[in-house]
């Protein structure tokens, strides 16, 4: 066995050009395959991130039924013990408690309906990314007791810019008219008309007071390590919650997103078929041929006493060795290329503006994501193809009569 292995290795080395040729085909193909899968995954995660990280978060914890009608009375008390339990969960990356109110925002003579989200800025930044989409002013700090950021559409309709004073009027929880002043600190533009035209981020304590809901929250928004696994995370997190609270993942919050991902998966599936196919056939061809052209050589070996099964085994070992080396190098190259895309990527913003798609906004650029399956699956496939490719010609060669084999050319 060892001898055959030795033989296999020497065979590969002996015909360096052929080996190198086959190897290079394998390496480059595998690298490109993993790269494109990475870009594909990158697109998906990008779409998912921009959809969920703009406003919803990957997961929200709310009182039961709150998400159906956003009834302000379906609130719960802020509990620091719950926060820390949540933060200790392995998947949770960020946590933001929120309170939500609806009412009128008014500046001078104009008033418009708005949705106010009372947040703690530093915590909110760990879940959403509105702070990266400011077109004017700054994002408030935790110490700011009356600062607000609002969407560009709303700001334009009201005619406000940073520094201006807004009035907010709402029905508060005790029946009175809740009203207070806000100062515009910044203006964001997400490209999502719903948010840009009606969303205002305000200090949490301020809103709790205006709504007469001191110490109360409507939701805890969470960001998780792997957004695509949010549904499983939601199930696990549900066990940490007291009675009356539920955890809901983005798939339920944004059903249009699930539709988009479903059709995306179909596309990906088709692409994967194309890519595997093209790659597989190329490798198959190469290996196949390189074994075929050594039929004569095998004939000589058999004439010299080597047994058929040994021939087969040798060929398979060669293919295995080739496959392993090719896979290893291909993975390395693929990693390098993917790293470049992940870190640098390709920027398309010069000819595409941010897009609203399925409830979120996508930034126009191409990037790659590292997902295990984008590397493991193609690697396995390559090995498999390499082995299969050697199988047939090896069998054929082994079955020939030595004299016939020697005569082949």
């Amino acid at each position: 066995m060892i001898m055959l292995l030795h033989l296999a290795a020497r065979n590969l080395w002996r015909n360096r050009r052929r080996t190198l040729l086959t190897l290079s085909a394998m390496v480059v193909s595998l690298a490109l395959l993993t790269l494109s899968l990475g870009v594909f995954s990158g697109m998906l995660v990008d779409i998912l991130s921009s959809t969920t990280e703009q406003y919803h978060g990957h997961l929200v914890i709310t009182a039961e039924g709150y998400l159906d009608d956003r009834d302000m009375y379906k609130n719960f008390s802020a509990d620091p013990a719950l926060f820390s339990r949540l933060q200790q969960d392995q998947a949770v990356r960020g946590l933001s408690p929120r309170i939500r109110g609806f009412g009128l925002v008014s500046y001078q003579e104009s008033s418009y309906p708005a949705e106010l989200l009372g947040v703690r800025p530093e915590m909110e930044k760990s879940v959403t990314n509105l702070q990266t989409q400011l077109i004017a002013g700054v994002f408030p700090t935790d110490e700011d007791t009356e600062g607000a950021v609002l969407g560009s559409g709303l700001a334009k309709k009201l005619g406000v810019s940073p520094g201006d004073e807004l009035v907010f009027v709402t029905q508060s929880a005790d029946g009175s008219i809740g009203n207070d002043l806000l100062i515009v600190r910044g203006i964001f533009r997400t490209g999502h008309s719903g948010h840009d035209n009606s969303l205002v981020l305000v200090p949490q304590q301020w809103l709790q007071q205006v709504m007469a809901l001191e110490g109360k929250l409507h939701e805890i928004a969470l960001s998780v390590q792997y957004p695509l696994q949010a549904a499983e995370d939601a199930q696990r997190i549900a066990t940490l919650l007291p009675a009356g609270l539920t955890a809901t993942d983005w798939g339920v919050l944004l059903p249009e997103m699930r539709e988009a991902i479903a059709s995306f998966d179909v596309s990906r599936f088709i692409f994967v078929i194309i890519l595997y196919f093209a790659t597989g056939l190329g490798i198959l061809n190469t290996i196949f041929m390189s074994v075929m052209e050594r039929t004569r050589e095998f004939g000589i070996l058999m004439a010299l006493g080597m047994r058929p099964f040994q021939i087969r085994l040798t060929v398979l070992l060669e293919c295995l060795l080739l496959g392993l080396i090719g896979t290893a190098l291909g993975l390395i190259l693929g990693l390098l290329l993917s790293s470049y895309m992940a870190l640098v990527g390709i920027d398309l913003s010069s000819w595409i503006t941010p897009i609203t798609y399925a409830g979120g906004t996508i930034q126009p650029r191409l990037t790659a994501i590292f997902e295990q399956r984008n590397f493991i699956d193609p690697a396995y496939m390559l090995l498999l193809v390499a082995l299969l490719a050697g199988l047939l010609p090896a069998r054929r060669a082994a079955r020939l009569q030595p004299v016939a084999a020697i005569r082949e050319d």
Partner: protein, 413 residues
């Protein structure tokens, strides 16, 4: 000619290898064509249903309504004598849909909700607007100024009403005062999109417009074309028909529905990138194949060179072989691609098979069946690439062949 025959024979000498290469190239071509046509078809579907319930392929708005959606930017269709008809008579126009959109409050005896009161011409929108697909709009909204209304399915529940009940709509009138109207629910609209279903109320456009004080007021004239490609040509034509000082503009759906346009552009960009990679992979395979075939014929080439053939001739032979491979692959690939496209056009891919639960798909705006379209230009383009590719892939192997030293070559093996 001689070269061709020779090349052809050479190609088929190693049947297995040739077949494998042809299969690889033609299948890749088929998949690229089929997939592109599929997304081509899906985009066309998305744009089509989008423009029919949205802005039309071309829309006429006042001022910057396309972007600002300021409900104060309504204009009086009645004062533009015959504009609707003049546009409808242009060649290539399928429908002209006047609409008005007013933010308002809907009230029942128990609840009230904010809505978008949408005034339409039911006769014109019938058969065209996908939101009205499953109902007979003209029989439900019986006139342009009647009190019949179609209500979003979620809104109905939230107002605690049933079909047949009345409700009151209140909006801001021309002088800032509150104007209320009585409406009666005659049917439901179910789009599957939560926001639409909980805030849509459709009425005859004159009833809605009456609340602005001008019964012929509209915000939008949505123009549906027979063929989307006519858009560029028709915009200037329509613009000429608009009264000069009216501040009216004819805009493309790409401006009025920028989100849709951009989503498609982004998808295109990533498609190009992926295809580039596929081409690269296929090229590598082909180069490899050709190289192999040259390698194994070194001795033979040596002999040929020795008996007087020029290196150039040898190079030509190799390249011709490649070209033939490419040509056959191209033909076969096109055939397969056409068949695949035909299947995807007629039958398509039903996304419902891929979604685990029965999700309400909306069906209206988002058709659950992905259908391909015929982008023949693209298919031909890709075919040409296959040929080009085979020629390019042959350059290195051909060069190698030409550089063979006959004496060394003949001693090979």
């Amino acid at each position: 000619m001689e070269t061709l025959r020779l090349a052809w024979r050479n190609v088929w000498r190693n049947r297995r290898r040739t077949l494998i290469t042809i299969i690889a190239m033609s299948f890749s071509l088929m998949l690229i064509q089929a997939f592109h046509n599929l997304s081509f078809g899906v985009y066309a579907q998305m744009v089509d249903s989008g423009v029919r319930s949205g802005s039309g392929h071309i829309a006429v708005y006042r001022g910057d309504y396309a972007v600002s959606r300021d409900d104060r930017l309504f204009w009086n269709l009645g004062k533009m004598t015959g504009l609707e008809d003049k546009i409808a008579k242009l060649e290539g126009i399928k429908a002209v849909l006047p609409r008005i959109y007013l933010p308002a409050l809907a009230q029942s005896s128990r609840e009230s909700r904010g809505i978008l009161l949408t005034g339409i011409d039911p006769q014109a929108e019938d058969k065209i607007n996908p939101l009205l697909k499953s109902i007979d709009a003209p029989s439900l909204l019986r006139s342009l100024d009647g009190r019949d209304a179609l209500v979003g399915s979620r809104l109905l529940t939230e107002l605690k009403l049933k079909v047949g009940n009345k409700f009151v709509v209140t909006a801001q009138g021309p002088e800032g005062e509150l104007v209320s109207e009585l409406l009666r629910i005659r049917g439901l609209v179910q789009s599957g999109i939560r926001d639409v279903d909980s805030s849509l109320v459709m009425v005859g456009r004159k009833r809605a417009a009456a609340m602005t004080g001008q019964p012929d007021a509209i915000h939008e004239l949505a123009i549906i074309l027979e063929n989307p490609a006519l858009e560029k040509k028709l915009i200037p034509v329509i613009t000429k028909l608009l009264p000069p000082k009216s501040n009216l503009r004819a805009v493309s759906w790409e401006l009025a529905m920028a989100n849709l346009a951009n989503a498609i552009k982004l998808d295109h960009a990533s498609q190009k990138f992926i295809f580039f990679i596929i081409v690269l992979i296929v090229t590598i395979g082909v180069v490899n194949t050709l190289l192999m075939s040259v390698m194994e014929r070194i001795r033979e080439f040596g002999v040929i060179l020795a008996v007087g053939a020029t290196p150039g001739r040898l190079r030509a032979t190799v390249m011709t072989e490649a070209l033939l491979l490419g040509a056959v692959s191209m033909l076969f690939g096109n055939l397969l691609g056409t068949l695949a496209t035909w299947y995807l056009v007629e039958i398509g891919i039903d996304l419902r098979d891929f979604i685990p639960e029965t999700m309400e798909f909306g069906g209206v705006i988002f058709d659950p069946v992905m259908r391909a379209g015929w982008d023949v230009g693209y298919m031909l383009q890709m075919s040409a690439y296959v040929l080009l590719l085979s020629v390019i892939a042959s350059l290195y192997p051909a060069a190698k062949a030409a550089r063979i030293a006959p004496a060394v070559a003949m001693r090979h093996h």
